[in-house]
């Protein structure tokens, strides 16, 4: 009994290693995907599952980066349109579109959400030595969203910093503005 438990634990720990000891390990695994014809990657440790694209329920008065909410086995989870979040035009859903379910550590608790992406590409092992710091300019997304530039097959993949891209506090705060601006807009109409 004890033996099995221990070995199970070992396997689990092994899986968790990339997340926990990101700095210590020589190489990490990244999930790469396509958004608006660009390839991005996120640390595989954040990824819980990949879900087929499906109908979403719109959330009224929510900012445009909220694509909607959906029912995942009884929990209602939000889906963030990653393109909008990165200030890119959003692509219409195709048969390769999907949601990447990620978990991000917030200030006090874990925040779970889906990321709407145009296609999932691959799981890539990128050694730390092949990761360059983000350039000070030349990439037109917010620099704090970028964890680094990973080199794979002689091409650069923008590795996103999920803690920044999926910062629940910041996202929630931005809704405050949307709500009140919508209100002012409406009252201006009325």
């Amino acid at each position: 009994m004890t033996m099995t438990n221990q070995s199970e634990l070992m396997v689990k720990n092994d899986e968790l290693m990339p997340v926990i000891g990101k700095e210590k390990l020589e190489q990490s695994k990244y999930l790469t995907f396509v958004v608006n014809e660009m390839v991005y990657g996120i640390d595989l440790g954040h990824v819980k599952e990949i879900i087929e694209y499906g109908a979403l329920t719109q959330v009224p008065l929510a900012p445009s980066f909220i694509r909607g909410v959906f029912n995942l086995r009884g929990s209602v989870l939000p889906v963030i349109d990653l393109a909008v979040r990165l200030d890119k035009p959003s692509q219409p859903p195709s048969n390769r579109s999907c949601f990447i379910l990620v978990e991000v550590k917030g200030a006090s608790e874990y925040f779970e959400c889906g990321l709407y992406v145009d296609a999932v590409d691959a799981v890539a092992q990128i050694p730390d030595s092949a990761i360059e710091p983000p350039p000070s300019f030349g990439v037109d997304i917010r620099s704090d969203y970028i964890a680094g530039m990973g080199k794979r097959n002689n091409e650069f993949v923008i590795l996103l910093d999920m803690e920044q891209v999926g910062a629940v506090e910041e996202l929630a705060e931005s809704m405050k503005d949307v709500d009140s601006s919508a209100q002012i807009e409406e009252s201006a109409h009325g």
């Binding site: 329920t57 008065l61 929510a62 029912n71 009884g74 939000p78 917030g106 209100q183 009252s187 009325g190």
Partner: protein, 739 residues
């Protein structure tokens, strides 16, 4: 179930302190011996359990309080206002000390100083022979003084006889009987111990964690009864203890035999064996005991006590003890009927029931599609059961509101003294049940309302006298169930609201437009607005114009409504209407564009068709004529920014929020459904107009609308349009205060 003993202690001490406070407040109006006993017991138990955990500060302080309570119980000191005040302060202090002990923090100087101050106040009431009195405290004596022993045949033994039966739970509470017995050896020589094991079940059904043993002990000792009792101090609550002195009366033994759970004959044999009684003495005792039984009417056990007193065999105190034991047995009986369950488990169950409701709705949709009669029948039978399970599951979380009402006794008492007003609190409907989560959240709003009623509602005694009202003002708290919800009323018999003054004030503050006409109800509702206060001067308690606004918002966050009724010169009633539960509500499903939304059913009054004639009639204005009434409406499609889709027939759902009626224009009506509320989480917490989401039978998510916010927004916009700068400053001020 593995409950942490410390958690139990925390819960228990809170309950006991609350009980102590309740009794003290009651005492001001006089109380009988039973109440005094109960009061004493609260302090005594807290002291005992704190001792187990080694909370010395609590024990030390409570010890003094206990001492005073003991003297109070014995009638050595009389109840007075000073004493009650000092004891209430003591109670608060014990609470603070317990908190401190649990947080494992050091006693701060301020707190210690405060404690000394209270002790100072208590000194006057304390007995001179502190130690003796306190040690005797709470330990029921089977024997009276020596005087009594003169009459009746005595047992010829020079040994103490101790009968002790530990409760079954004694091990679970972390106590072991053995050390108590060992301790006895320090007091004298144990000449005989007979173990009573007739409670011991058969080997298969034995629970190794339970105690089944009792002991009959003969002790040769010079110690006093108090000292012997002291040995069992910490296990007092968990055992049945009788101590008979050397040469006790045989009738006392008879009483002992009667009171112990074992068969009389068996006990007799044991007593005989351990040398407490000789054969002859045993015969006399059994005879005596049989006599007692005959005289006692079985149903009214208390009679036995009276008979014993009449025969002068038992000291009145002993009867008290017996009665106390009875009450305890009854209490134990009651607890046996209820089970303490971890709240998280309950939530899990209720969540699962929620899933069941959703799955059931899915089944119904499928069954309807298949259209098979037998299937439809079984499915509808099952959904009926699911509904019943839902109702029962929700009831598990229901608790009476009385407990949260009772704490206002203290508030009213303290505040009335501060304000120099004589105020009485009357509570009705304390046993009305409400979801625990709701109860936890209405405490603060209720506090605001009660304080408001005392501060602004009630007049000063002189004023009341001049008006021909009784000088004592009354604040009423009332709760009752009403059409699927609960109504809580906070009322006073004070001055009432003056609509004209309120309106003038609102105009002055710019909350109402100068030529805007409002009916009386609407005017009353003004006091719920932010930045509105009518009190001439700001007091500590209220009058900052934040309270009522916060009350309204808190109540609305619970999807409740606030309503005000008042009669000038007669008083004011604030009525809060709340849903019974926050987990599952009855909803009304509507379609707007391609989306479905849920409106809480209890707000829906009726549905009518919005004909083209109506819209033309109102010339693009957003109101219609509803049977002679003006009904303003909101087009959800616009408010929720949906794409305009052409529908021939729009529908109006007439909703009522408080006294405000409004129409919500939707594209389609789908009908009622049971809605399990799924929170949308932190991400959407700033998004108003949404209360949560639910999962429909199809698996699709539907958003639950926060109707009050939608309507307030519409009202706000109207006001903003009229007088924006003023409202914004008010908002800012309030924002600053809240942060």
């Amino acid at each position: 179930m593995s409950e942490n003993p410390l958690d139990i202690f925390v819960e228990e001490s809170q309950e006991l302190l609350q009980e102590m406070e309740d009794i003290l407040l009651e005492l001001e109006e006089g109380g009988d011996a039973e109440v005094m006993n109960a009061l004493f017991r609260t302090a005594h138990t807290i002291k005992g359990s704190s001792g187990i955990f080694g909370f010395t500060h609590v024990v030390g302080f409570t010890h003094v309080v206990e001492n005073v309570l003991d003297r109070l119980r014995d009638g050595e000191i009389q109840i007075s206002e000073d004493l009650v005040a000092a004891l209430l302060a003591s109670k608060d202090h014990i609470g603070a000390l317990v908190d401190l002990a649990i947080r494992e923090e050091e006693l701060s100087e301020a707190l210690s100083h405060q404690g000394d101050g209270i002790l100072q106040r208590l000194t006057g009431f304390q007995s001179t022979e502190v130690e003796g009195a306190s040690a005797q405290a709470g330990i029921p004596a089977v024997v009276g003084g020596k005087v009594e022993r003169e009459s009746g045949p005595c047992v010829m033994t020079d040994q103490w006889h101790i009968s002790i039966r530990f409760s079954e739970d004694v091990y679970r509470l972390g106590l072991d009987p053995a050390p108590f017995l060992r301790y006895l050896e320090k007091l004298g020589e144990i000449t005989d111990v007979t173990t009573v094991f007739d409670k011991l079940p058969s080997l298969e059904s034995i629970d190794p964690e339970s105690n089944y043993l009792g002991f009959e002990i003969s002790l040769t000792s010079d110690a006093s009864k108090t000292e012997i009792e002291g040995a069992f101090e910490f296990v007092r609550e968990e055992c049945t203890l009788y101590i008979l002195p050397p040469q006790a009366k045989i009738s006392e033994y008879a009483d002992l035999i009667e009171n112990l759970p074992e068969e009389a004959e068996l006990l007799g044999v044991i007593l005989n064996r351990c040398g407490a009684l000789t054969d002859d003495e045993l015969q006399i005792a059994l005879h005596c005991q049989a006599q007692l039984r005959e005289q006692a009417v079985p149903d009214e056990a208390s009679r036995l006590g009276e008979v014993l007193v009449k025969q002068q065999t038992v000291h009145p105190e002993v009867v008290d003890v017996a009665l106390e034991k009875q009450a305890k047995v009854r209490a134990q009986h009651n607890t046996a009927k209820s089970v303490r369950v971890d709240a998280a488990r309950l939530d899990k169950l209720i969540n699962l029931v929620g899933e069941l409701v959703i799955a059931g709705a899915g089944n119904q949709i499928q069954a309807r599609r298949i259209d098979d009669e037998a299937l439809s029948e079984t499915v509808s039978g099952m959904s009926h059961l699911v509904e019943e399970i839902r109702d029962h599951a929700l009831q598990l979380r229901m608790v009476p509101i009385g407990e949260s009402f009772n704490r206002f006794n203290r508030v009213v008492r303290d505040v009335s003294k501060d304000l120099g007003k004589a105020i009485k609190l009357e509570i009705y409907g304390a046993d009305t049940e409400l979801d625990k989560t709701v109860i936890e959240k209405i405490g603060d709003p209720l506090m605001h309302l009660v304080r408001n009623a005392m501060d602004h509602g009630l007049e000063l005694p002189e004023q009341r006298e001049a008006l021909g009202k009784p000088t004592e003002g009354v604040v009423y708290l009332n709760a009752f169930h009403d059409s699927g919800g609960i109504v809580i009323e906070v009322a006073d018999d004070g001055a009432g609201l003056d609509p004209e003054k309120l309106l003038a004030r609102a105009r002055e503050k710019g909350l109402v437009d100068a030529n805007q006409e409002l009916d009386t109800k609407e005017i009353y509702r003004l006091i719920l607005e932010a930045g509105f206060s009518t009190a001439q001067e700001i007091t500590d308690l209220s009058g900052r114009g934040v309270g009522m606004d916060v009350v309204r918002r808190n109540i609305e966050a619970l999807s409740g409504t606030v309503d005000i009724d008042s009669e000038l010169g007669e008083g004011t009633t604030v009525r809060i209407r709340l849903p019974l539960s926050l987990a599952i509500i009855d909803g009304f499903l509507v379609g707007v564009g391609e989306s479905s939304y849920v409106i809480p059913l209890d707000m829906v009054q009726e549905c009518i068709e919005l004909s083209e004639a109506d819209t033309q009639e109102s010339h693009g204005e957003h109101y219609i004529n509803l049977r002679g009434e003006v009904l303003p409406f909101l087009r959800l499609r616009d408010v929720l920014s949906h794409q305009a889709s052409e529908h021939d027939r729009e529908q109006i759902v007439v909703v009522q929020v408080g006294t405000q009626k409004a129409g919500l224009v939707v594209d389609r009506l789908f009908g009622e459904l049971q809605t399990v509320i799924k929170p949308l989480g932190k991400l959407f917490r700033h998004l108003r107009a949404i209360r949560g989401s639910t999962i429909l039978g199809t698996g699709e998510v539907a958003i639950i609308l926060d109707v009050p916010t939608l309507i307030h927004r519409a009202v706000g916009e109207r006001q903003t349009a009229v007088n924006r700068p003023v409202l914004q400053t008010v908002d800012n001020e309030q924002g600053a205060r809240l942060h």
